[in-house]
Amino acid sequence: MPLLEINNLVTAFHTPAGRVPAVDGVSLSIERGKTLGLVGESGCGKSVTAMSMLRLVAAPGVIEAGEILLRDATGGVLDLVTLPEPQLREVRGGRIGMIFQEPMTSLNPVFTIGDQIAEAVLLHRNVSRAEARGRALEMLELVRMADPKRRLDEYPHQLSGGMRQRVVIAMALACEPDLIIADEPTTALDVTIQAQILDLLADLRQRLGTAILLITHDLGVVAETCDDVAVMYAGRIVEQAPAHELFGNPRHPYTIGLLAARPERRGPDAHGAGSGFRRAGPLRTIPGMVPAPQHFPTGCRFHPRCAFARMPECSGVMPALNELKPDHFVRCSYADALGPPRRMDGTAEELA
């Protein structure tokens, strides 16, 4: 049984301009100890999905439908959508930890690092202040913070961005959660620091068995860290598969387009080959722009930008999320007919 299961989640914002369904029927499941990547561009609803999981969506946002089931080791199930607030507070930071993009927004500038980690522990565990402080030190050591004893008494502004994110991770892990929701945890960091944090997360997952929901727009980060991947577009999941399958055999035109739009670096391994991008011609693009939730198109929401859209079918009916092959789900009526792209950066010609 999966650790966490989201079924048909609908989260909408009720604005003066009307109802805006940012998350529109999302289903996901995360297995114990696994990492699921949730990928998409701005406004696709990936962060609102994460906020909904802990009922942190601010007004005028409302969870309108769906269930979010959290299982414990003994088979008990909680539905986070209907769970009363006091119990939910035990889940937040207790059984589910969170890491946000900008570490400074999750840290209080007027409290020391030690106090902030200890507070998370005191809130969820029946321990003394001294024990909580001991736990804070332990956590800083766990996240491989240099000179952790000294850091305990320092303030967030005294730390670099990478160190702050380590503190946030330490806080999220302090109560040994079953699941960590990491929303763009490395986006604000430089690549060499990002590499450190991704390494750390992978290492912690292995040692502690914590499941991770990794939300990001960076396909490279997903490819290197996740077991499974779900691609979101305009409030819906359009493709979901194990990572190696998704990157090796992408089937939704949006996923294929995203992968093809990046110039892939050959890097130091390609000795003497040169890059030759100039000769390769212009980058493949996805035409048009990401639709805002107020203006989601009818039918398949990707159809106005899709090179393979067939009218009027694609603009008429929202395709279902079909299981193309075991564990590989695609929301495209023609995924079967289009067939797999022959190369990973499959072109229109190759697909047609």
């Binding site: 690549v191 390494d199 490279g220 995203l258 990046r262 670096r265 890097g267 493949r284």
Partner: protein
């Protein structure tokens, strides 16, 4: 040898650090600290590095949006730093900049018409009729229509706003553009559109670019030459294909290996550097990279490494210089050696130092 369009020698831009009641100067942030490069007409130099390395300050110093504190910048043979008043304005017509954030760089209270017209008026280009034609042409080149003129920036998406920012830069027909992270704020599916546009404009208008970015794959795609910056200095510079195929500097190697890739089978040995970038207010002695460098030796802590140049590939590293010498100047052999030396060790298990 033709004369380069942009020639930068020993550029220094230090920002004073003031303290106390009298705002006494107690030190300096050496954001750019001795940077030299040149860009030939019609070519693109990519400038990469992590935040705080000084790459943005280099771009702004060339245009004198910030005042350099030392060195020289020549544009088409003329000394930019010694020019003032109307002459500087004349030079600036030929040098334009596109910023990272199209939300911040366009005045929300101005219609696109005023945004584009401002430059034409300041530089006294064309009469009223002629200006409209110039603006329409610039918009068309960036994929927008004249209908955009009477709208405000907020009516456009991020990608369109960046097109407007590019139209504003090219409407006064410059020779040289500083592109400062022009696609970083855009969605992935929009980035490729803007990159293609920039490449197209370069070909059509014969523009010269300084392309500043932390996105290594886009820089490789766009640039003829690439320079890697670390803590206010250029540590390596080479033709793009050479740099990416045969990186020699330990920092370049680490930077390249840190970029996550979607290519199956490239989930590979990542060189994880320990620690953070030191403060440019107190740069380390010797080679500035030595506190984070797994190959650092005694000499690296004491002596600033000079440039070693092989066929237009310049690297500032004592170890790389030695390897190049041992390889008889064969950069491919030396690069392979450097990669082997840098191969991930137990380094990733050590604490994230200072």
């Amino acid at each position: 040898m033709t004369q380069p369009l942009v020639d930068v020698v020993g550029l220094e831009t230090h920002f004073p650090v003031r303290k106390g009641l009298l705002r006494r100067e107690v030190g300096a942030v050496r954001a750019v600290d001795g940077v030299s490069f040149s860009v030939e007409r019609g070519r693109t130099l990519g400038l990469v590095g992590e935040s705080g390395c000084g790459k943005t300050t280099v771009g702004r110093s060339i245009l004198r949006l910030v005042e350099p504190t030392g060195g020289s910048v020549r544009f088409d043979g003329r000394d930019v730093l010694a020019t003032g008043g109307a002459d500087l304005r004349g030079l600036r017509r030929r040098m334009q900049i596109v910023f990272q954030d199209p939300y911040g760089s366009l005045n929300p209270r101005m219609k696109v018409r005023s945004i584009l017209e401002e430059g034409l008026i300041i530089h006294r280009l064309g009469g009223a009729d002629d200006r409209l034609e110039r603006m329409t042409r610039a918009l068309a080149r960036t994929g927008l229509t004249a209908a955009a003129l009477d709208r405000y920036p907020h009516e456009f998406s991020g990608g369109q706003r960046q097109r407007i920012a590019i139209a504003r830069a090219i409407v006064i027909e410059p020779d040289f553009l500083v592109l400062d992270e022009p696609i970083s704020a855009l969605d992935v599916s929009i980035q490729a559109q803007v990159v293609n546009l920039l490449v197209e404009l370069r070909e059509q208008l014969g523009l010269t670019y300084l392309f500043i970015s932390h996105d290594l794959s886009v820089v490789e795609y766009v640039s003829d030459d690439v320079a890697v910056m670390y803590l206010g200095r250029i540590v390596e510079r080479a033709p793009a294909a050479r740099l990416y195929a045969e990186p020699l500097h330990p920092y370049t190697l680490a930077l390249f290996s840190a970029v996550p890739s979607v290519e199956p089978g490239r989930r590979r040995r990542r060189i994880v550097l320990t620690g953070d970038v030191p403060s440019p207010a107190r740069p380390p002695s010797g080679c500035r990279f030595h506190p984070r460098c797994p190959l650092a030796e005694q000499v690296c802590r004491q002596v600033e490494p000079p440039a070693t140049v092989i066929d237009g590939h310049a690297v500032h590293c004592h170890v790389a210089a030695r390897e190049l010498q041992q390889a008889g100047g064969d950069a491919a052999v030396a690069a392979a050696r450097m990669a082997a030396l840098m191969a991930p060790t137990a380094a990733s298990a050590s604490p994230a130092a200072v």
